[in-house]
Symmetry: C2
Subunit: 196 residues, 2 copies
């Protein structure tokens, strides 16, 4: 039996994916971060957490286990629930993988301008965040090389995270989730107990 | 001297780029469509107007004249004006080309879900529009192969054209243009007569 509904979240670094995840958790929806799955794998392998190493590991995992290797690891860590959020999908291959694994898949793109994302990442200072514009551009290129742009272009929904405070965007995400889930539940009486 | 402000519009087929162009024209802003530039070239060469031929010609033009060949032809057809809209940019190379040609460049992505775009294209029936889902998916792939997804991912603004009537989206585009141009003019007293 396939699982219920998966909301796949795609966005460039610093676009606000983690705020969306926070909104989902606040509404009781489990969230699995594909980035965290790779970072955990780095810890297991005794590797460092900087962006280059993580990107290299994501690449290695795909070379070792195929285009959907990270998606597979992510699915193993996804709890059974009627609705889950999977944060950080990076290619159309991964989207297809999740489409096969779930009854229904929605792809949500979170968008912010490069300038806004750069400003946010400079303020965030996570270990794998870029410290200079050149690093930022390089990291963007790595993400695009994996296929993030194609997933954004073919997404079902897009939320613009521009000119909003963190709190305002958090509220927008909660509103979006409530609206979309209400619509879905109206159409699918028992998500997770679908026809297949 | 470089030209003034260019608003580059990117979007997958059927996302609503032409509605945005209509909004720009209604506000007196000249619009040049990169698709029209290629279609005109097809007419000159006595070729047909179907999507495959147009896509093949766009590819041939780039092979003959470099990644920015269509952008160059487009620039030749762009009237001198403080603000212009260039519709249908397809790669980061083209964005860079226009950045060198204009004082200021804004990249605007227009987004609709695949399902909405397909429905619209079926209703539109332009000669080069897909007639079946498979053709639609194939055309999407050709667009993505040119780099449309990367331009969308790195755009400065995104407008979602979902669940709106044509008139509602037209109004949204006009509001967006008025807001952005007011902001730009406040910062740049004489766009088109910049410092370089």
């Amino acid at each position: 039996m396939r699982r219920g509904i998966a909301i796949l979240v795609v966005g460039m670094p610093g676009s606000g994916k983690s705020v969306f995840s926070e909104a989902a958790r606040a509404l009781g929806i489990p969230v699995v971060s594909m980035g965290d799955v790779v970072r955990l794998e780095a810890v297991k392998r005794g590797l460092s957490q900087d962006a280059k190493t993580i990107a290299q590991l994501a690449k290695t995992l795909r070379e070792e286990g195929g285009a959907c290797a990270v998606a597979k690891l992510t699915l193993e860590r996804t709890p059974p629930a009627p609705v889950v959020v999977i944060d950080g999908v990076r290619s159309l291959d991964e989207v297809e993988f999740f489409r096969r694994a779930f009854e229904k898949v929605l792809v949500l793109a979170i968008h912010s301008s490069p300038r806004t994302r750069f400003t946010r990442l400079m303020a965030r200072c996570r270990e794998d965040d870029p410290k200079r514009w050149e690093e930022f551009v390089e990291r963007d290129r790595r993400e695009l090389a994996m296929g993030v742009g194609e997933v954004i272009a073919l997404s079902d929904y897009v939320l613009a995270n521009e000119g909003l405070s963190r709190e305002e965007f958090l509220r927008l995400c909660k509103e979006w989730l409530n609206r979309v889930l209400t619509e879905l539940r109206a159409r699918t009486p028992n998500p997770g107990e679908g026809s297949q």
